[in-house]
């Protein structure tokens, strides 16, 4: 919790104005003294100044001192001016951590800039602003979590103070590391460039920690590239258990392999269809859609195998059913056959059943009766004329 608060504090501070790189080198609140000349000016230069002072005032120690002092002050002021100019432009780039990395790389090449101290007042102002914002944020969050305003106010104060102390401690700890390295650098001039490089790597890592965000790490993450000298993945010796030359048999449980494959296929199904064709494929396989190519006899059932001849040409069944070939019954049955042949809703078997029923109805007795009645009708018709 406290750590996240710290990161919030840093982020909030960063929002208004990015932290100066060398804030890490000044950092702690107890660091009231200004930068030492030694920190700013190159040692060679200092030596040169000594030399000049000795040359000009070989005797008088006080004059030598005052000359040295003036020279050093002039140089410090000069360096400070150039740093300030650089810091202003660097300031805008600081927000972009990508740019920050670039900047650090540049700085690693030229140690002078890093060694100087940034204006402390700006640093403090920015910190204060960050803290106020943080307090506010904590306060709002506390309000949201259901505290009363008074409780929230107290909470925001205490939490932020704690966070501040913690942050200061962390800084001090890291700061002392950086300081030690700085001092070492000064003593070992010969290995200077190498050491400086290391120092800036440390500073970079430290900065990375400061800029670390909640979810994503800072933009200035290091790119890890392929190492050509790394152990090769594909060019190693095999385990040597199985031999290529030998013959092996497949001795697997067939169902187990099949079911594993089924599980793999289902897992590969993602979240179903990704376009309407896939949806139609899905419907087709589930039997919800008529299959392509469209066929109006789709899933006709038993009738699929029945020819249209059986449906349409029904009169050919009449002789075998004992229906007379002429006369009123033949005429009537002709009409029945025409009617049935036009019915699409009846199966052919049902149609034949109908014919059978009529054939049973027009049995010999009925035939005779019909014949008799027909004749009577004909006689009656003739008489009527």
């Amino acid at each position: 919790m406290l750590r996240s608060l710290c990161s919030v504090a840093v982020r909030l501070g960063q929002k208004r104005q990015p932290r100066f790189l060398s804030s890490t080198a000044t950092g702690g609140d107890d660091d009231g003294k200004g930068p030492k000349a030694k920190d700013i000016i190159d040692d060679n230069l200092l030596k040169a100044i000594d030399g000049v002072a000795n040359d000009i005032h070989p005797q008088s120690i006080t004059e030598k001192k005052s000359l040295k002092h003036t020279l050093i002050n002039r140089l410090v002021a000069n360096e400070k001016a150039s740093f300030d100019a650089a810091a202003v432009s660097a300031n805008s780039e600081m927000l972009d951590d990508q740019a920050l990395i670039g900047l650090l790389a540049d700085v690693a090449g030229d140690a002078k800039v890093e060694k100087k101290v940034p204006p402390k007042s700006a640093q403090l102002r920015q910190e204060r602003r960050g803290l106020v914002l943080l307090r506010k944020e904590i306060f709002y969050q506390a309000i949201h979590s259901g505290f009363t305003t008074e409780e929230a106010r107290v909470k925001s104060e205490t939490i932020v103070n704690e966070a501040q102390i913690k942050l200061a401690e962390q800084r001090k700890a890291l700061l002392s590391d950086v300081r030690e390295k700085l001092e070492n650098d000064e003593t070992e001039q010969t290995e200077r460039s190498e050491k400086e490089h290391r120092l800036f790597t440390t500073a970079l890592e430290f900065l990375e920690k400061i800029y670390k965000d909640d979810m994503i790490n800072s933009d200035a993450r290091k790119i890890v590239n392929v190492d050509k000298d790394a152990i090769k993945f594909f060019q190693q010796r095999p385990l040597g258990t199985w031999k290529k030359s030998e013959k092996y048999e497949d001795h697997s449980l067939e169902f187990w392999t099949r079911w594993d494959q089924r599980a793999a296929t289902i897992a590969n199904g993602s979240f179903g269809p990704t376009n309407s064709f896939e949806e139609q494929i899905d419907w087709t396989t589930k039997g919800k859609q008529w299959e392509y190519p469209i066929d109006n006899e789709f899933k006709m059932g038993d009738e699929a195998g029945v020819s249209f001849i059986d449906h349409v040409f029904l009169e050919r069944h009449l002789p075998s059913l004992g229906i007379p070939k002429t006369g009123p019954i033949a005429h009537f049955m002709h009409l029945v056959c025409v009617g049935l042949s036009k019915n699409p809703y009846m199966t052919a078997a049902k149609k034949r059943e109908h014919l059978k029923w009529f054939a049973d109805y027009f049995n010999t007795e009925k035939q005779k009766l019909v014949h008799k009645l027909h004749e009577q009708e004909q006689v009656a018709a003739q008489n009527a004329l």
Binding site: D213, S270, I281
Partner: protein
């Protein structure tokens, strides 16, 4: 194939127009009902400009965050399931009962109740076939209690089912019909059910190679320490027989690497051919090696072994390796010490190098596949020409030459119809390789390899798909964040963001804040990107909190004169919308709505007022600002403003200047009053002087103003 037909038509027509060549009608090609649809689907593909197909409905409902996607999908799916349940219960209400053809798909049936069905072997077999594991168990118990004879064959079938699924119903991951449950359903990590139907059947059935192998494999599949012990005992007891591959695979996976190697040697002596699962199990046991160097050596040896046997490692093999290349205890940055940091970097570098090799290998396969595919199409064309045009003496010699050339080329390249490769799922873990590798590449910030991985995943030769709304989304989220991080160009960010959000990647806080950070850091201007990020933020509910503040900051940083006319309109609409939303949130003062309420803070009010002034809505801006001076607005039950905090001085200064420019005495006075809440007399005096100078202030008013300032503290 369609190309082939087209070619035939053209050629036939071409020839018939010349000499009276013999017309050959090709026999109809048998096609399955889905062939045509498949061809269409492959041609069209998914619409990359629309949301996922599952969400194509009313545009207002398109979800943009991960959780909204999940909620939507599940709601849809459960709705479908509820409808199906109703249709099962009251079928006549939903289906016109005379419809022809009668489609059983529209008449869902209740599952057979094991207590109601006929207690016969046939019913049991039917249940086994439909994978109703627990129902089959119940029916089996019922058959036994009713003394119905169950044949050994059916018992074995049941044993297979209950052993494979641990006497439980099939896991969510194997639900074919319901994709939502399949992917979002949470599985309980099953341990072997001792004393279940599987154990009972194992005791009942004869101890054959098959039954023992099934039992061992099942015990290892649902492993805990006890079940693994039992599996090992069974293996020892059954030394006389020859257990099957799956049992070996299970035992290998559950053992240490040395024991696994012994088991593999045993397999070799029994002449049992290994499969990919065997090697996965070996890799799994190698992953348990504690010494890092030995572990990576074992990994590479196993992969070499697979290739030695002319097999192709599945992506699941690579997944296991990539997953174990970095020690899990080193993954948390906070917990790493100095030494650990070094070994972490070493391991990460190795992981990146190996992933690079794997990707090159897979990509090589794909290139190889494409080459082979082209040659195959060439062959088909030549075959056709040979059949149809060969009678023409002019063409004859030419075609034979081409045919010979292509065959010779294929032989030289070792290409035949059988050995082409394609990425297809071998195990259910294959898709995890992509997301795991992307995770490592994200850690390593290696965008180049991430891009290569993405290209492989999206290649048409890859048929391994991650579940879109869960794993794939993580994959693309990692890729997108990495790509955005690495590029300084806002145009590239815009291109990436527009193509992926929210279709592939749900809007999330870290992504939005990353985009805002990039916009702030860049010297470029990109209004469409900023607008899109804010609009997405609105739909994703990011308006309150830090991101809302960031949105206001970004909007106030927009230089209106750089925007075009339509863009300025968009700006206006966006500001109006945002302010309306914030005000609406602040007005949820009713008891039941209060948990949704987000009161306006003074800084928020000042920023909103500034934005409103920029779009020319001064009236509204002053109404908002008045809230700061209204005590009723910040106290009591109905409060809409936080009582603490201060208006932003820079925003107030700009508002004041704006009022002066417009000679708006009322506005300037309002700003002055708000400024006086924080500023002292020295700061306020010049403001008053300017006000008196610029605005039409009569003497009386000037006196009041000066009196007001004089009363402020020094």
């Amino acid at each position: 194939m369609i190309g082939r037909i087209g070619l035939s038509r053209v050629l036939t027509r071409g020839l018939s127009s010349g000499e009276a060549a013999k017309l050959t009608i090709q026999p109809a090609i048998e096609r399955s009902p889905t062939d045509l649809l498949n061809a269409l689907s492959e041609t069209v593909g998914p619409d990359t400009t629309a949301p996922h197909f599952a969400y194509i409905d009313d545009p207002i409902t398109i979800p943009s965050t991960q959780s909204a996607k999940k909620t939507y999908f599940m709601a849809k799916e459960f709705g479908k399931r509820a409808a199906r349940e109703l249709a099962t219960e009251w079928p006549t209400l939903f289906a016109f009962d005379r419809d022809q053809p009668r489609l059983p798909a529209f008449r869902p049936q209740h599952l057979a109740d094991p207590f109601q069905v006929d207690p016969t072997e046939k019913s049991l077999l039917k249940m086994i076939k439909s994978r109703e594991v627990q129902d089959s168990c119940v029916l089996y118990e019922r058959l036994r209690s009713e003394n119905v004879e169950v044949s050994e064959k059916v018992q074995l079938e049941l044993f297979r089912l209950v052993a494979y699924y641990n006497s439980s119903n099939i896991p969510f991951s194997e639900w074919q019909e319901w994709a939502g449950i399949r992917n979002f359903g949470e599985e309980s990590n099953g341990k072997w059910k001792t004393g279940g139907v599987a154990d009972l059947l194992f005791e009942t059935l004869q101890k054959t190679d098959e039954t023992v192998s099934i039992m061992i494999a099942a015990l290892c599949k649902f492993h805990d320490s006890q079940s693994v012990e039992r599996a090992k005992e069974l293996y020892k007891e059954h030394q006389t027989g020859k257990i099957h591959l799956e049992a070996f695979n299970g035992l290998i996976g559950a053992s240490s690497f040395n024991a696994a190697k012994k088991l593999a040697a045993e397999m070799n002596s029994l002449k049992i051919s290994p499969n990919i699962s065997t090697f996965n199990a070996l890799l799994f046991s190698a992953a348990k090696i504690s010494k890092y160097e030995e572990k990576i050596k074992a990994f590479s040896e196993i992969i070499a072994e697979i290739r030695e046997l002319d097999m192709e490692p599945a992506l699941s093999c690579y997944y296991i390796i990539v997953k174990n290349l970095i020690d899990s205890k080193l993954l948390d940055k906070e917990k790493r010490g100095e030494n650990e940091e070094q070994s972490y970097n070493k391991q990460l570098t190795l992981a990146v190098s190996w992933i690079s090799e794997i990707l090159n290998e897979i990509e090589g396969d794909i290139v190889f596949f494409k080459k082979r595919l082209k040659i195959r199409i060439f062959h088909i064309k030549i075959d056709f020409l040979q059949q149809n045009v060969i009678s023409e003496p002019i063409f004859r010699s030419k075609f034979f030459k081409m045919y010979d050339f292509s065959h010779r080329f294929c032989q030289n390249q070792g290409i035949s119809d059988e050995n082409y490769k394609n990425l297809a799922p071998v195990t259910s873990q294959c898709h995890l390789f992509f997301v795991e590798a992307m995770g490592v590449l994200y850690r390593a910030s290696n965008e180049k390899l991430a891009e290569q991985l993405r290209n492989i995943y999206e290649s048409s030769q890859n048929s391994i798909k991650m579940p879109v709304f869960t794993v794939e989304s993580t994959f693309y989220n990692r890729y997108l964040q990495l790509a955005i991080e690495q590029t300084p160009s806002l145009n590239r960010i815009q291109e990436l963001y527009f193509s992926m959000v929210p279709r592939l990647v749900g809007v999330n806080n870290s992504l939005t804040s990353l985009v805002f950070r990039k916009i702030s850091a860049s010297s470029e201007r990109n209004w469409p990107l900023l607008r899109r990020a804010i609009v997405d933020g609105i739909t994703a509910g990011q308006l309150n909190g830090v991101l809302g503040e960031e949105m206001r900051k970004q909007l106030s940083n927009v230089q209106l004169h750089t925007l075009g006319t339509s863009e300025r309109e968009q700006y206006t609409t966006l500001v109006q919308k945002l302010v309306a939303v914030w005000i609406e949130f602040s007005q949820f003062t009713e008891e039941r709505m209060r948990r949704l309420q987000r009161k306006l803070s003074p800084s928020q009010i000042s920023e909103c007022a500034l934005l409103l002034t920029r779009i020319g809505e001064q009236q509204k801006a002053y109404e908002l600002l008045e809230l700061l001076l209204d005590e009723n607005a910040s106290s009591g039950e109905e409060a809409t403003v936080y009582p603490k905090g201060h208006a932003r001085p820079w925003a107030m200064a700009e508002l004041f200047e704006d009022a002066l420019r417009k000679k708006d005495t009322y506005g300037a006075a309002l700003c002055l009053e708000i400024l006086s809440l924080t500023a002292n007399r020295a700061k306020l005096e010049p403001l008053v002087n300017r006000m008196v100078e610029k605005c039409n202030v009569n003497q009386e008013q000037a006196r009041i103003l000066q009196g007001f300032v004089r009363l402020r503290p020094q």
